[in-house]
Each structure stands twice: as C-alpha cells, then as structure tokens.
C-alpha cells in the first residue's frame, strides 16, 4: 500500500509542479495572408515548441493599414497586442509615438538577451534605428526593388534571355524590340512611388527629401522634383506615349499581369519571387533596378519595403522577456536563413546571408541574391532610405500625380512639382501633430 501511495503522491506533485508554471501569452498582430500567413504560423509554432515559458499567438488582423488602425484603437482602449507588424510606411508614425512603443533595444535589455545591432544587415536595420543609434523595431520581412523579366518573351522578341537590361537605356531598347515583335505590354511597374522615385533616388545617391531623406528630423521636406527625377519621369511618360510602358494600376496590382505573362518586364518588390516560382508559366529572370549610366555614384543601393515588428508599451516585464526571447529566436542564423529562403524576403542578419550562401542556395536559385546584393553595400547619408511622416498619404499623392502624367494631363515637371507641394503639406501637418 504505502509504496503505491508514495508513487501516486510523487506523480501528483510532479504533475502539479510542471503544470503550475502558467504560460505567458504574447499577442502578435500581423498582416500576412496566404502562404506568408503559413510562414508566420510556422514560426510561432516552432518557437512555442522550443520552450515552455512563453506562447506566441499570431493573429491575422487585415491589411497593414487595417491592422494599424485596429492597434491604434486597441491601444486607446488599453488592450494593444505585444507585437505589431507595421509596414515601413508607418515607421515615422510609430517612432513619433514614444509613449506607445517600447524600443527593441530596450526590450532586449529587459529580457536579458545579448543583442548586437551590428549583426543585422545595415541597410535593413538602419531604417528602423533612431538617430541615437538605438534600434526601435525588429526588421522582420524586408524586400527591395528589383526588375523581373520574362525570358521566354525576350527570346520571342529576338533578345538574349540571359542578358537583363542594366540601364534605363537598355530597358527602353528592349521594350522597343518587344513592342516591335507584337508584345502588348513590354514594361510596367508596381508600387510606382517606391520604385520610380524613392528607390530610384537612393539607387542614384540623390536626395528624395531634405534632412537625409527624413532621418534627421520631422522638418524634412520633399525634393523629388529635381532635374534627375523630372528627366526620369519624362522618359517614362515618353515610353507610355509609345506604348512601351503600360500603367497597370497602383500598389501591387501590376504584379498579376506580369505573373500571367501579359507584361514582359516589371519593376516590383523582390518578395514577388515566391509567387513567381510557384505560378509562373514561363522562365523568368531577376536583375537589379535599372539605372542611368551617366549619373555619378549610381548604382548605390536600393531601399527596403516590407514591414518590421514593433513592441507596444504598457506591458508586464515577464511579457517583455518573452518578446525578447522570440526576437532572439527569429535572429538565429538557421531560422533567419530558412525564412529568407522560404519567402524571398531579405535575410535579416549577415550570418543568415552567409549561411544561405554557403548552402549553395543562391547557386541553385539564380537571381535570388540580386535583392541582397543591392542592400548589402555600405550606405551613404542619402541612400539609407526614406523615413517621413504621413508617408502613406504622400505615396497616394504621388500615385495621383503620376497617373495624371501617364494620362498626358500634366507634364512630368508639373506632376512632380504638384506632388512635392501637396506632400510638403502632409509633412507640415505631421510635424505639427507630433509636436503637441
């Protein structure tokens, strides 16, 4: 009798001891749907399985702006999530809301996690770093601007499919040949503000806005109506008139015509790679964003798109420890490398890049290192990126004005001047609002 009771007691005690440690739940709001949503869920699942103290709960909260609006409302109501995925366009807003966010650097310190900002790819992490050098948010899914082209269409037009257009002059020539061979949509572009103005500026090491493109403070103002920008938009407008450039809508709507084979070339986010690999019915190539040969300093580096993870303020220290553990988990070379290879997003750390390189991934999947190459160079003050307030409204304004230019209603100079003027108004309002 006695031994049995003892064993049962011991078992009960052990059971109680293991179950007594309640798991701390960490709420993570994100905007990744489809296969990317699966990626997020797998990351959470693997992290939860790797330790017992914390449980990450990812929830899809709509598109980036919906999720942000929801988080803002939740914060006001006192129940914000712990982690929020915010698109790069919302960075300035988050940065200015000092009482609402907890810088990643501080979170890592609280969590007792060794944190080396230098381990992260500079062009990526630098975007999310304060002027003081403190990292504010965690780079999670970053992409950059690349050129995809349809190799089969090239061959059919008499172009060499292995030779991607490197300069804008080459691109125009290729487009002309495609059109001559009957192709109805030689070139189009997604995210036109991002690819044709923002990334274009950093790629050519010219200013998009004053104060180092906004990194220096909220009193930055726009400068993308300079001679080089006007020249480029004029070139595109000419292409549009000749039917070499076909406008296919805002945001990433033009990706679909490229994936379906309707358009032969597209400048868009490198993250389209995953979808292309899966659904494209043709051979495709990736190459860096085209540049103007005669501009000194070009090509410099492109800027990031995508989103980062922000930690919201007002949570308990144990919860921050959990967040720190999760972010450390995401930064592990194997995890970061796997994420990079699975999604096409840039590797977050240098170690992840080197690991992927050593594994031969880039050799087996040619073109996947194009995006990284563009970002891994040392950045200049003008090329670190663009960080401005009310960036979402500015991008919409740019969309509206460029559409006028493509439709022939305004000249390139008029359109860019109007965009700068309207955009500056947005920057003024942001400056006023954040001062209060």
């Amino acid at each position: 009798m006695k031994p049995r009771i003892l064993t049962s007691l011991a078992a009960a005690l052990l059971f109680a001891a293991s179950g007594a440690r309640a798991q701390t739940e960490i709420q993570w709001w994100h905007s990744m749907s489809g296969p990317l949503g699966d990626w997020v869920n797998d990351l959470a699942k693997d992290f939860n399985a790797s330790q017992k103290d914390y449980r990450i709960v990812p929830t899809y909260k709509g598109t980036y702006d919906e999720s942000m609006a929801g988080a803002v409302a939740a914060f006001r109501a006192g129940n914000a999530p712990h982690l929020l995925q915010v698109f790069e366009v919302g960075t300035a807003t988050m940065m200015a809301s000092k009482g609402a966010v907890m810088p990643v650097g501080e979170v890592m310190k609280l969590g007792g996690v060794k944190f080396e900002p230098a381990a992260y790819v500079p062009a990526v992490a630098g975007y999310y770093t304060a002027p003081s050098g403190q990292m504010l948010s965690f780079p999670f899914n970053s992409s950059t601007t690349v050129l995809f082209y349809n190799k089969d269409a090239f061959k059919a037009a008499g172009l060499d499919p292995a030779k991607a257009p490197r300069t804008w002059a080459e691109l125009v020539a290729a487009a002309a040949k495609l059109k001559a061979s009957g192709h109805k949509c030689p070139y189009t572009t997604s995210w036109q503000g991002w690819t044709q103005l923002e990334s274009f500026s950093t790629w050519h090491n010219v200013e998009y806005a004053t104060k180092n493109n906004g990194f220096g403070g909220p009193d930055a103002r726009l400068t993308f109506n300079g001679p080089l920008h006007v020249r480029h938009i004029e070139d595109l407008a000419n292409m549009a008139r000749q039917g070499l450039f076909v406008y296919k809508g805002r945001g990433n709507a033009p990706d679909a015509p490229f994936v379906s084979g309707e358009c032969a070339m597209v400048t868009t986010s490198s993250s389209v790679y995953g979808n292309l690999k899966r659904s494209a019915g043709f051979a495709f190539g990736i190459s860096p964003l085209p540049y103007y040969q005669d501009v000194p300093g070009a090509p410099q580096n492109t800027i990031i798109g995508g989103a980062s993870l922000w930690v919201m303020a007002g949570k308990k220290p144990t919860e921050y420890k959990g967040v720190a553990q999760f972010l450390a988990y995401l930064s592990r070379p194997e995890v970061a490398a796997a994420s990079h290879q699975r999604t096409g997003y840039l590797p977050v750390t240098r170690a992840a890049y080197e690991l992927t390189d050593k594994s031969g991934f880039y050799k087996n999947n040619p073109g996947t290192d194009v995006a990284v190459e563009q970002m891994i160079r040392k950045t200049t003050d003008k090329s670190r990126g663009v960080r401005l307030g009310n960036m979402l409204q500015i991008r919409t304004i740019v969309d509206e004005e460029l559409e006028q230019v493509w439709a022939g209603k305004k000249s390139a100079k008029e359109g860019l001047d109007a965009a700068v003027k309207r955009g500056d108004e947005q920057l003024e309002r942001f400056q006023r609002a954040t001062k209060s």
Binding site: S33, G70, D255, A256, S260
Partner: protein, 283 residues
C-alpha cells in the same frame, strides 16, 4: 390601355425585354465565369458560354482554397456569419422598434415628445457619418470581431419605429378599450391583440431589414479584421484585394453568386411583402 395601339405595345415589350437583358447581363457573365478555370478567364476575351468547372469552383469557394494570396476564407463560414448577423439585425430591429412604437403611441408620460424627437434625429446619423467615433466606442467595449459588434450598432431603426407608430395609430381605439375592460394590462394587449395585427408589417420589415443586414459593407469592413468573422460581402472584396497573386476571378464570381442567393431568394419569394415593406417604410 385606353386605345389599342399594337405598335406601342410591341415597343413596350421590346423595351422591357432589353431592360431585363441589361439587368441580367452582369449576372450571366458572373455565372459563366464561375464555371470556368482561372486560366480560361485570363485568356481574354472570356468565352460567353458556360464552362465545365462549376462543381470544382463552388466547392473551392465554399471550403476555402489554399494557395491564393488573397483571403481564401471558406465561403460557407462567411455565409453563416452573414446569415446570423442579418437575422439578428432584422429580428432585433423589429423587436426593438415594436416596443418603442408601442410605448410612444399607447402611453402618456413626461418626456414623450423628447423621446420621439431623439429617435427622429437618429435618421440623420447614418453610420457613414459617424464611423470613426462609433468604431472607437465598439473597440472600447471590446466588441470588435464579434456578432455583437457587427449587429448592435445597426440595430436601432427610426424608420421601423415610425412604421409601427403609423400602423398603431390606425388601430381602432375600441380594441384597446375592450381589452382594458377585459382586465388585460398593456403587455397582454400588446401580445394578444397588436402583435397578430402587425404580422403584415413585420413581414414586410423583415424582408427589407434582412437585405439591409446581409448587404452591409462599410461597417463590417471596419469592425471585422479576423477571417472567421468576415461576412460574405466583405470576403469578396478581400479576395480581390489579395496580394501578389492574380485574382482568381472564377472563385470570386462563384462567391459573388453564392452571396447573392439568400437576399435574392427573399426578394423573389416574398415579393408581395417586399413591395409593401419598401413602399410603407418610406412613408
């Protein structure tokens, strides 16, 4: 008509048939698209004859197809959400308005005029005019992504209250006096006498409000961000907004048709009530 003019009668039929055709055309195209594969649709122009993939498409839509970058929430679930919210809204509106109208018409109490006017004022506050702050209130009350959040802010209806008020005013006073003599209190009167008489109005209102609830767009767009709570109308919009992949138009059209069926059924089957409800509720 007054005199026989065959030519004019023929013209009338022609015009009417043209009208029916134009009205039905988008629906027909949607139906054809829902029976073809995504690839066939991409080969513009799409053939105008039905394809052979109807079953596959509808099954994919209802159960949710994996692999598309947009929302691929199972339409079956979304239809359920729409059904539940539309029913809550319709029945809730009828119940609340009935009680309010009864109170306003059959009771004398201080402040009655004020109550009447406050209800009237809400006519001038459609949800589109107060979306920001109403959203905040709902978020504060932690009602986001719930049936409560989807329905309660829409459940007060000035038009329904006025409809019942008009109707009650036409009920002869003798009825109430007779009930009183019989010893029935106000609630008994409501239940045994007024309710049976109001059946027609209730049916008419039900049709209008069910359609209203089912077709809600702006409010659910703000209040639901999690897939399990999308009503089907929102689900369709999110399918088109899907990220990098080409839109699966065949699934989108199949979903659109599925989404149209319940309200269309209600309209067609309850046509008499529907017409009465429309005409009466605007008085």
């Amino acid at each position: 008509m007054v005199e026989r003019r065959p030519a004019l009668t023929v013209l009338s039929h022609v015009v009417l048939m043209l009208g029916v055709l134009v009205v039905a055309f988008p629906l027909y195209v949607a139906f054809v698209a829902s029976t073809q594969t995504s690839h066939e649709i991409q080969q513009a122009p799409m053939s105008l004859l039905p394809g052979s993939h109807a079953l596959v498409n509808y099954r994919d839509a209802l159960l949710g197809s994996a692999g598309s970058a947009g929302s691929n929430a199972p339409v079956a679930r979304m239809m359920w959400v729409s059904l539940v919210s539309a029913l809550i809204i319709a029945l809730g509106k009828i119940a609340i308005s009935l009680l309010s109208a009864f109170a306003i018409v059959y009771f004398r109490f201080p402040g009655r005029g004020l109550v009447f006017w406050s209800i009237f004022v809400t006519l001038m506050l459609p949800v589109e005019v107060r979306i920001g702050p109403t959203y905040q209130v709902v978020a504060d009350l932690k009602m986001l992504n719930s049936y409560a959040g989807l329905t309660v802010p829409l459940i007060a209806s000035a038009t329904a209250t006025f409809l019942f008020r008009q109707f009650f005013l036409t009920v002869p006073d003798e009825l109430m006096e007779a009930a009183r003599i019989d010893g029935a209190g106000p609630l008994r009167f409501l239940r045994d006498h007024l309710l049976p008489l109001s059946k027609t109005s209730m049916a008419a209102l039900f049709v209008i409000q069910f359609i209203y609830g089912w077709n809600q767009y702006l409010w659910p767009l703000l209040v639901t961000t999690e897939e399990p709570m999308y009503p089907v109308v929102i689900g369709i919009k999110r399918m088109i907004a899907g990220g990098e992949a080409a839109v699966d138009w065949n699934i989108v059209m199949a979903t659109a048709l599925l989404a149209m069926i319940p309200p269309a059924l209600v309209v067609v089957l309850m046509q008499r009530w529907f017409v009465k409800g429309l005409v009466d509720s605007e008085k």
